[in-house]
Point group: D2
Chain length 277, copies 4
């Protein structure tokens, strides 16, 4: 169990989203409300775009996010138009930097909440399905990172929804052949620095929660006195494992077995169907 967050919109200091809201992501590291585990203190990470560079910067660390003084400094000084953050609750693998999200490949980043069930039983089969040319990039031991490398193998950089649907098909296929009833449980966020794709799916169709923020235009009318809402651009959007703050009308649930795309122009919401690679 983990919690994650994706922001796209007007450049803001990271702390405006990570620290300042009631029930911020950093608060959730100690007390999440909707998670299976209420404590997400097995490492964390943030990755941000900006400064004219294509490859995002990352800060990942292994302690609880709430007490990390470097994270506090960075969040107060770095401004970005698009970033991902993740707080981790390990399901058994080591608490170490290479197991912390976001995972990164070139300009792409990837965060995951959930798990591949009985991962140790099928890990070998899964990593064998990774493109050998990509294999050396796997740096940690998590199911989440293997999911990214399978998605890359299946074309993440060209067609993210199709690649993720193929990755899930493979995990379910391999898992079921090993007798695992519900092989995958996930919300996933991935981005190339321009758009964000957010997926909600599980083999048992009871997926971890995922929310996206309402269109800023509507929120302006709802909250004429809220300075942040008044200030950010119309295209600003947040995707979160669980809502920040307590403002009615701000958060909409991503439906079961679907995915959304935050992009230039209209955002979209589509059904998610695992498909054979």
């Amino acid at each position: 169990m983990c919690r994650w967050l994706a922001y796209s919109g007007s450049p803001i200091p990271l702390e405006d989203v990570l620290y300042k809201p009631d029930h911020s992501l950093i608060d959730q590291s100690m007390h999440s409300r909707m998670g299976v585990e209420t404590t997400n203190a097995d490492g964390f990470g943030v990755g941000w775009y900006g400064g004219g560079q294509v490859v995002p910067a990352r800060y990942r660390s292994v302690g609880p996010a709430w007490s990390d003084r470097n994270m506090r400094e960075i969040a107060g000084h770095v401004t970005s138009p698009l970033f991902l953050a993740h707080i981790r609750a390990s399901t058994g693998t080591a608490v170490q930097q290479t197991n912390c999200h976001p995972f990164r490949h070139g300009r792409w980043m990837w965060v995951h909440n959930g798990s591949i069930r009985e991962f140790s039983k099928i890990k070998r089969d899964l990593i064998l399905a990774v493109d050998p040319a990509l294999f050396a990039g796997i740096g940690g031991e998590t199911d989440s990172e293997v999911m990214l490398y399978l998605a890359l193998t299946f074309g993440l950089e060209d067609d993210p929804p199709a690649a993720v649907e193929r990755m899930v098909w493979l995990v379910e296929d391999v898992g079921r052949r090993h007798g695992i009833e519900h092989p995958i449980q996930m919300t996933v966020g991935t981005t190339d620095g321009q758009s964000i794709w957010a997926f909600r799916y599980s083999s048992e169709h009871q997926s971890r929660t995922l929310f996206y923020s309402s269109a800023v235009r509507g929120l302006r009318q709802l909250y004429p006195d809220n300075p942040v809402i008044q200030r950010v651009s119309d295209e600003t959007r947040l995707v979160v494992s669980e809502p920040l703050g307590d403002l009615p009308g701000v958060w909409n649930e991503v439906p079961e077995s679907s995915y959304g795309v935050v992009q230039k122009g209209d955002d979209t919401l589509e059904r998610f169907r695992p498909r054979e690679p």
Copy 2:
């Protein structure tokens, strides 16, 4: 807020107390029930006597106890007749090894749950009251460690209850002169490797919880099938911030404003009264 534990009795592997019971101290690092804070993940430590050495060994680390693989190894391989363990929830000071309990001075160890209120306001006055010959031994920045050094200044090594009563008197006196209504809140455990002194006191007389285990002799009759209870010696005793396991009749609350002594011969329970140094 923190949680701590003191064990004295038949030599046992540390894990028998730290990991194996339901609701063990390690479990409490993630989910304590009685604490003001339910998460105690800002470092931890254990100190144990044994191997013919007078000075106890310590292992202290800054991550959450639940994910620390070295702690797991040590607990499974080290056997000791007397040890202290502590899990920390910082009230603001840094998460670093020198702020982790148990604190140590020669053969003595010290653990604390609670706080000196508005400590930063009176820290200077308090450390000025520490014996200059002891001053250089202060290694961290916590109120808990300053309490130990004040107790040492007031004779901890000769008369622990009197020294702790004088320490508390001083903290309350300095605090009140600075306008702090209830300067101290504490349960404290201290030991010289032979006896354990356990204190429960707060300026407002609503102190953090503290429990001691019943005499083993009585527990044997209550739980004829429990192998651990049947195995340990008559003089085995635990003092804990909150009960381990769910066995009725095992745990007794240390009364408000009192202290107990676990020692060779009969254990004792006395009133605690701050006294002028």
Copy 3:
């Protein structure tokens, strides 16, 4: 023993100074040439100004700088016109974040190479001399941080050279009263985000090395093909514990018992004389 570096000039990515030169500061963390200790792997830190904020950001960590992946990320993505960096070789105090340089007070930062000799013997007297209103800001246990707080007590924010001269006078006075022959050894860098003051002094007048870079205008003629030198502004200046790179004519030694000021307009170099507060 430590190594440090101060940069002021055209905004550049931190990595241009910290990683890219031959014998960069990060290289020096493993292999310094001029240090008493050749390994400076007991923590490190960097503090930078920018982004329209008065208070600088800091990143400090306890491992060796050479293997820190977060430092690498930050250095590649953060651009700044003025920054300090420091790599630490502990003289006995703990390897922990609160002991890592740069130390900070409001807009000010402070780095130190050297030591107060027999510090534990005189620490109590020295911290008693710190302004009680500043006392609570001391977060670590190093001599270097106490030097900063003494300098603040003696007016660092108003007249840095005078404040540092008074601080040194006090340390020497207290030290000699305790029978310490040569109480202080130091190079110090301090900045308010506008100017940098760099001090070289020791009681025995054999101070650790310190160098400043030559005027860029002259360097342009010397190295017409070096892109960095051609690109940076005329007022760009580096102060370093030991030279980066191998370019003849670039580095000038700060003379024994003197200090330099890097500032808008002409930089200056003056004699350093401890003076009674």
Copy 4:
């Protein structure tokens, strides 16, 4: 590049070997003399047998060994008749606990100095050769750990020399098929808690240094006044990457392409020949 040490003999406090000798292993973490790299500060570990348990205990940590206060405590309080210790200089993989030696499988431990060259190029082929039943045990990302799992696959627990010879054959075969001229460079120590096998081999036949201590009986005559030598049992033996202390006659080089066995009864020294599995 790394340094390692294996001890077998009279039970002694770990510190007698790890800290007390001149040029001890802990000293070598900062200043090794014979290594390609003189600094071995990318993590370390020690594993010891004792206390009636078959599986050894391990302490592994990611900072430099010289400043690790927990290691100091453990070394002063743990006594063992057989232990391995290792200090690491990373050749690129992350500085994290799962990459620290000794690696462990059941009662077996494994330490390695050297590398598989261009490991990232052949890692996939090598881990495919690991017995699928063992695959899930691989916890880190190092070449050294893959070497252990290959040796286990080829029968380490039944015939250690043959298993290691087969492992090396496979690495050389896979490497050469990928165009790597000298695929492997190693000294390896492995133990089941009873005997120690120490290997010295490299594809180019210029292997890293490895030494074993002379028979204690002879050393007693050579050093009649050395208390440690007089005290330890006749069968006490050390194997080290580079000599501890400066005593002439104590250290013998393990010849190129050979291996030694420290065991009950006479120790042996044999030629090492890679052999097809």
